[in-house]
């Protein structure tokens, strides 16, 4: 029996639009392991945010989960599974409890998440009351503890109004609020987007610190590869509503298998890369209402062959059992698209020999 | 010849598209149809139905029946015929007053927003003073001194009183558009003030201006009915006059005469309602996103 925190099977989510159904998430299988940091990376419209919203079932009314199951497991102190349930089958009341006690989500727009006329203390009070959690002095103590963890000055923040805090501080308050009921899983949507470099660095350090101390599972959604490189244990690359590559962070960056992942890595210049090594992925992200046939990446893929246009590849093990990719030509992809990295690997292999 | 055919075909396509967009919003569509029917009744109806010219003393204040579908008035005239003949004037005044009010408001608002600084302050102060005057009383007092014998005079009169609040709204719309990046880009390209005002800003305000136009039309209908009711505007047998006469001839104390009050009132209410409902679908018509069907 699997002992992952969350097991997603065949999750399919559609949005109703005037032109037709937007296929945002198309039959995803994904596991969130205990205490791991899993990054969902992809471009806007890839469906990564919808997956996050689907897990906590906070989708807008035009979205529908058409199939799938989301098995969540609560663990006891000894590490044994205490309770196992399908999030999609929870009653509204159970769902409310699930959202804070089992799995908290912090959204992208950090300012809009707050009620502007309430002090931070009141926002904590409301959340705690809704879940019959601590109140009064005990709640304040707990909040101060969390503020310390996210490196905020408790005295200053507790009595502040949201607008008195900077963007980075608000983001950290939200993370603290998410952790109030000590959930075993936290979902962050674009945790550092729209923040300045130094603030981003601070949030990343806070998150690393928190994970070490509290050992929760972290799922974060981002278009920023370097954030994933910094924080994640595993990376799921999402394209057109599907996971196209899944693997440990080192494997994914040093030995990417899917042409899209390779394309993304090549498309993002870093401080150390030479200008000539950077190149865009041709074309633009697909129209989710009118998806291409076969592999959804084939119109942009330099390796596409006839088969790619006809059949959509499944996620299969590649270089190792833990490193999966959904591509018919994964074996050649890196060789052709990332020659320098492939050479370096060959050199390493020779040296080891 | 060929370009003309093309133009006509284009026009036809656009018209169909516009009708489809109106139909998207149920409420707006109902309003549109209702408005069309009222206009048809008031402008085509009088060509078909002979007006009531003589009084019939034997048939005063009859309730609705087969012989008199909507009852009769204090002179024994058919209410339905009066209804058909009493609409044109109300609609004309409403339309003219609405258009004039909107023109004044757009010019004042646009100038104020575009000039900015001291000129803006001055114009807005005048607007505020105008806005603060007790307009109901002013309307009555002025109407007493100015003779308002025709539709144009009344419309102009109403618009002189109606523009300030709309001018303020137009100004704030212009101010917000002025900061848009595409307006900034047009400034950088030195496309000139007329281009920026009429090509960049105005098209994006059309739905807003049309809704404002309809608002001022409804305002004009209220004001004119009010003046007619008070006997300050003495023309025609329009709905307002009919209502006023029925009231003056004690219809309110006579259950049989109810219809004489309700019929002209119904005309006014339906006209207002159709305009307000129709304005709901205007936003969709002018939204290019909806026009191209995405």
């Amino acid at each position: 029996m699997s002992a992952d925190t969350l097991t997603i099977r065949n999750l399919t989510i559609e949005y109703q639009a005037k032109r037709g159904a937007v296929q945002a998430v198309r039959g995803i299988d994904l596991d969130v392991r205990r205490s791991e940091a899993l990054a969902l990376i992809g471009e806007s419209g890839s469906g990564k945010t919808t997956i996050g919203l689907g897990i906590v079932r906070l989708l807008v009314s035009t979205a529908k989960i058409t199939s799938g199951e989301l098995i969540f497991r609560r663990f006891g102190i000894g590490g044994q599974v205490e309770k196992e349930f399908d999030v999609l089958k929870l009653s509204p009341r159970e769902l409310r409890a699930f959202r804070w006690k089992d799995c908290a989500m912090v959204f992208q727009a950090a300012l809009n998440a707050f009620n502007p006329v309430l002090r931070i203390s009141a926002q904590f009070g409301d959340t705690a009351r809704a879940h019959r959690y601590l109140h009064g002095e005990a709640l304040r103590k707990r909040a101060y503890e969390l503020f310390d963890l996210v490196r905020l000055d408790p005295e200053r923040v507790w009595n502040a109004y949201p607008h008195e805090l900077s963007g980075g501080m608000r983001q950290r308050v939200l993370i603290a609020l998410g952790l109030l009921l000590d959930p075993p899983m936290l979902i962050l949507d674009e945790p550092t987007t729209a923040l300045d470099i130094l603030t981003q660095r601070n949030i990343m350090d806070v998150l690393k610190d928190l994970r070490e101390k509290l050992r929760f599972s972290l799922v974060f959604i981002s278009h920023d590869l370097s954030l994933a490189a910094e924080l994640a244990d595993r990376i799921a690359t999402v394209y057109a509503g599907r996971v196209v590559e899944l693997g440990n962070v080192y494997d994914t960056f040093q030995n990417p298998q899917h042409p899209y992942t390779i394309g993304l890595i090549n498309a993002v210049p870093t401080l150390t890369t030479h200008r000539d090594k950077v190149s865009s992925i041709p074309g633009s992200p697909p129209d989710l209402i009118d998806l291409p046939s076969g592999c959804k990446f084939h119109p942009r893929c330099p390796l596409a062959i006839e088969k790619c246009k006809l059949e959509e590849p499944e996620l299969v093990p590649t270089s190792g059992p833990e490193h999966l990719a959904a591509c018919w030509r994964w074996q050649e992809a890196k060789q052709i698209l990332m020659p320098s990295a492939a050479e370096a690997e060959l050199r390493n292999a020779k040296q080891e020999r | 010849m060929i370009p003309l055919v093309h133009k006509l075909a284009d026009f036809w396509r656009e018209t169909i598209k516009t009708l489809k967009l109106i139909a998207r919003n149920k409420m707006g569509f109902v309003g549109f149809i209702l408005l069309l029917l009222l206009i048809l009744m008031s402008f085509v109806g009088p060509l078909i139905v002979q007006p009531e010219v003589r009084a019939d003393i034997t048939q005063i204040y009859k309730p609705p029946s087969w012989a008199h579908p909507l009852g009769t008035d204090f002179q024994g005239r058919e209410n339905w015929i009066m209804l058909v003949h009493g609409g044109a004037e109300v609609i004309e005044v409403a339309f003219l007053a609405g258009v004039m009010t909107t023109i004044i408001a757009v010019i004042v608002g646009a100038f104020s927003a575009f000039l900015g600084g001291k000129a803006d302050e001055l114009i807005m102060t005048v607007t505020d003073v105008w806005l603060a005057l007790p307009r109901g009383i002013l309307l009555i007092v002025t109407a007493y001194f100015v003779s308002l014998q025709d539709v144009w005079a009344l419309a102009l009169f109403l618009s002189v009183f109606g523009w300030p609040s709309l001018a303020r709204q137009v100004r704030s719309q212009f101010l917000s558009l002025k900061k848009r990046e595409y307006v900034e880009a047009a400034q950088l390209l030195n496309l000139g003030t007329p281009h920026i005002l009429f090509r960049e800003m105005l098209p994006n305000m059309m739905s807003y201006i049309l809704i404002a136009l309809i608002e001022s039309m409804t305002g004009a209908i209220y004001s004119q009915t009010y003046l007619v009711f008070l006997g300050l505007v003495p023309f025609g047998n329009n709905w307002g006059v009919l209502f006023s006469l029925a009231y003056a001839k004690n219809a309110i104390y006579n259950t049989n005469a109810m219809s004489s009050l309700l019929v002209p009132m119904g005309g006014i209410v339906l006209l207002q309602l159709s305009l307000i409902m129709f304005s709901r679908s205007l936003e969709e018509i002018f939204n290019p996103r909806l026009r191209t069907g995405v």
């Binding site: 470099i197 370097s226 994640a232 200008r275 950077v278 | 030195n190």
Partner: protein, 338 residues
């Protein structure tokens, strides 16, 4: 010596926030660009980079200082000379959704300046020119796009239309304000490459404003990067040099804080910690060097009291920092000799 295309001389811009309360968004900035040169202006939000760009584009008037275009003071330009400047400097905005008029087709957008300035005559010529412009910014098939509305295009395509629109008047200088930050990651580079191609082809000078240093290094590979902090230009240097060997403490901190898309490298990157995480408010700027309360290399009284000047060094860099100036005293370029 050649006259620079555009030159900022001790440029300052203040904004009134309340009665008698002003903030200084740009503070005594001097910078010049030569024809065909690329400069990236980098900094965090509120550092004044966008305000600097808007002043150069003529959308904001400086409170103090001068902007020279081809050696002539902007404030004195009139008539034809002013028009040459106005069309010579164009801007690409950040938000591709707000920078194109939603009620105009792509053809309307691109043809308006062509017609207004009589660059083309007649419908046929205008249409052909519009197609050529769109092809120039790698929008193909251009003919199919002409009759579309902005909302029917992707963010990247819209941004290309913005570039094409700017090119209608054959500018000499383009200011791109965060022009790719709202475009999908996978296509950012191709958009930048289009700009680089145009720079080579048309001899354009480009000021690229961004918060992303890695992107700045890519774009300004052969140009320069300027780093701003709280309204001040704290360091300017050739792009590769600035990233490889930063001089100003703020630049060093920034570079050490940026994560890299490589887990091995990013997790073992040496970090320089700030003395304080609090960003000072523009309303109450620290005395002396504005960075001193946070500076890891804080060197006492001088940093607290004296505002450091931007000092030019022989290697082409310029830094506004007391300790750096003291250390590199021998390498200082004599201002009067320049």
């Amino acid at each position: 010596m050649n006259t620079p295309l555009i030159e900022l001389k001790h440029l300052t811009r203040r904004f009134q926030v309340k009665r008698n309360v002003f903030i200084t968004a740009v503070n005594d900035v001097s910078l010049s660009l030569n024809p065909g040169e690329i400069v990236c202006l980098v900094g965090e939000s509120g550092c004044g980079k966008t305000t600097t760009g808007k002043m150069m584009a003529g959308l904001l008037k400086p409170s103090e200082g001068q902007i020279l275009y081809n050696g002539q003071d902007l404030a004195q330009l009139e008539g034809e000379a002013w028009k040459r400047y106005r069309l010579g400097v164009q801007m690409i905005h950040q938000d591709p959704y707000a920078s194109l008029n939603p009620s105009h087709t792509i053809y309307d957008i691109v043809s308006a300046p062509l017609r207004h300035h009589r660059i083309t005559n007649g419908e046929k010529e205008t249409r052909a020119a519009a197609i050529e412009l769109l092809e120039n910014v790698d929008l193909t098939p251009a003919a199919d796009l002409l009759d579309k509305f902005p909302h029917q295009l992707s963010g990247g395509q819209r941004q290309r239309v913005s570039v094409a629109r700017a090119l209608t008047v054959s500018p000499k200088f383009i200011i791109a304000d965060e022009a790719v930050s709202m475009v999908d990651v996978s296509i950012r580079i191709s958009l930048l490459n289009t700009l680089l191609k145009l720079k080579d082809k048309n001899g354009l000078a480009v000021l690229f404003i961004t918060h992303d240093l890695a992107l700045a290094k890519y774009f300004a590979w052969e140009g320069r990067i300027g780093v701003m902090y709280l309204g001040k230009l704290v360091e300017v240097a050739p792009a590769q040099q600035l990233v490889a060997a930063p001089q100003h403490p703020y630049t060093k901190v920034l570079l050490s804080a940026i994560p890299e898309a490589d887990p091995e490298r990013t997790r073992h990157k040496p970090r320089i910690e700030l003395r304080s995480m609090d960003v000072p408010s523009l309303l109450r700027l620290p005395s002396g060097c504005a960075f001193h309360p946070r500076c890891p290399y804080f060197a006492g009284e001088k940093c607290e009291k004296v505002i450091p000047e931007l000092t030019h060094f022989v290697d082409g860099s310029a830094v506004a920092c007391h300790p750096v100036r003291a250390q590199r005293a021998a390498e200082i370029v004599d201002e009067r000799a320049r």
